[in-house]
Amino acid sequence: MNWPVILSISKTHLLSRLKQSVIAALGVTFGIGTFIILVSFMTGLNNLLDGLILNRTPHVHVYNEVRPSEKQPLDFDIRFNESLNIIHSIKPKFTQERIHNALPLISHFKADQRVKGVTPLVRAQAFYAAGSLQMNGLLNGIDIIEEVRLFKIDDYIFEGEANALKRTANGILLGIGIAKKLSLHVGDNVQIISSRGDNFQLKIVGFYQSGLAEIDNVQSYVNLKTAQQILGEGDNYVTDINIKLHELDEAVAMASEIESNFDLTAIDINEANAQFETGTSIRNIITYAVSITLLVVAGFGIYNILNMLIYEKMNDIAILKATGFSGTDVKYIFISQALIIGMIGGILGLVFGYGISVIIDNTPFVTEALPTIKTFPVNWNPIYYFIGIGFALLSTFLAGYLPARRAEHIDPIEIIRGQ
């Protein structure tokens, strides 16, 4: 194969009909460019939306659930083993809300290879007091450093900062809804009344905004110790344990393991958010379907132009064959033209897609749900650029291959005689 000669012929063919070549390349450019824009933006958005759920939700959530006993006293009596027992008005069994032996349990989970981190949580019912008014509230006692590391709680902190809670023993990250109702600012004090009637003065170190008004009107975060004090309980009082794993896929196995080993309820992330994976995969399917359609359309454009080119170049093909070029040489002349169009169009498409992505990345996007996000999310993963150029070359190769194969088999005699 004599590539310099083949490529110089391709070059002459492409340059002598520059307009057509440019139009064919632009088809690829727009196809690939749109693919890059679409895929970067859509996956960026997907990651953002997934993040909303994945960051906030523990992979395994362990707590004590209030529920009726599975075996009622009647079932223990052997005399009724053979009979069909129906009990009405079953009441839940009395259990304490705390997790029994929580601290050893936490160290046990932390020792597990699969676990990235474990955070204890103390839920405390309380009231926010404002003069004579008392508002329902829920205080979550947390280990703020671990929450920041594992659940990115700092993404939802609005004014103030997460670490201030660590420094201030009686600090509180107040829900933004309550703050607005009570006209409070960072640095102010807020009065909390516990369910037992005790009064506590807490200092506001920041505002918490989840984006869901129902939560923001009720929920606040305090230090673990503060919550235990409000409840009048000791250091080992923990109501929930949140576990984050290295691999999300192991959540289901881990949850059932915990349920069978300990007398606790363990909810895995898939159970808690079944809808989230469906949404992600459907958005991905849409992205790829639209992109591939665009590239196929660009491919047909190239196919058409090359087909026309070959009709016009019948004479050239016959001469080349008569003067010693084989059918394979002729085929490569046309395939190389298609690939040159694909290469140039594809690279321009990547540049074009990158440019628009930069613009999107700088477009303001304000959302209640994520106070720290200021612009539209864009995924800069370079893999999409490789897929883009790969698809450009593949589709132009296929579009060029069929016409080129026809050129390969053109009989020069028929052309020469036909004149």
Partner: protein, 229 residues
């Protein structure tokens, strides 16, 4: 005998060809012929007698025939398309009735292409050779023009230069003067005769120009798919 064999450039034995479309038709019937080194041969005949068909078979472009074809005593039938393309490139030069240049390329590129494809010499050598051939045919001054911008007579001379570029053993021409006026026609004939006599080049020319044929070394006359003289 060995002397004889060395002298033979092209030899055909019992060539038969049928057209099957639209009806079966026996175009070439038991054609045998031999062309020796430096011989200037013309094939004469009426339209439809099969002379062009024979030329395409002899040129290796048409492979659908029965019989044996030898180029310098090397059997050609049964070789693959790529091998035949290489043989054409090395040993056979072509001149067509309608000069058939690549219209988007310059004259020089047109002449150089077959040699570049063969790849036996460096590009600068090929360029020098091509200029020499154009010089020989007195059109060197047009070398950098685009092929579609020159006259018919000039195109035919470029086609001859292209046929010569790989120093072939034989040049085949299909009506090389078919659409030229008598002055250009004479010019082309003189060039071909000079090549044949001075450079010991074999020439096989299909023509129905009686005057042209009579001036060649040997005339093969065909009728109804057979050689009659």
């Amino acid at each position: 005998m060995t002397q004889e064999a060395e002298n033979s450039v092209l030899r055909a034995e019992q060539i038969n060809k049928y057209f099957t479309d639209p009806v079966e038709f026996h175009v070439l019937k038991d054609i045998s012929l031999e062309i020796k080194r430096g011989e200037f041969v013309s094939i004469m005949g009426k339209s439809g007698c099969g002379k062009s068909t024979l030329l395409y078979i002899l040129s290796t472009m048409d492979t659908e025939y029965s019989g044996n074809l030898y180029l310098k005593e090397q059997l050609l039938n049964g070789q693959s398309g790529t091998q035949l393309a290489r043989i054409r490139s090395e040993s056979i030069g072509f001149i067509f009735q309608f000069h058939y240049l690549l219209s988007e390329f310059t004259i020089l590129q047109n002449v150089m292409l077959p040699a570049l494809k063969l790849g036996a010499k460096s590009k600068s050598e090929i360029k020098k050779d091509a200029m020499a051939k154009l010089e020989l045919l007195d059109i060197a001054d047009q070398a950098h023009k685009i092929a579609s911008k020159i006259s018919g007579g000039q195109k035919q001379r470029v086609a001859i230069a292209r046929a010569l570029i790989n120093s072939p053993d034989i040049i085949m021409a299909d009506e090389p003067t078919g659409n030229l006026d008598s002055k250009n026609s004479d010019n082309v004939f003189n060039i071909l005769r000079d090549l044949s006599h001075k450079e010991q080049l074999s020439l096989l020319v299909v023509t129905h120009d009686q005057d042209f044929a009579e001036k060649t070394d040997r005339v093969i006359t065909m009728e109804d798919g057979r050689i009659i003289t």
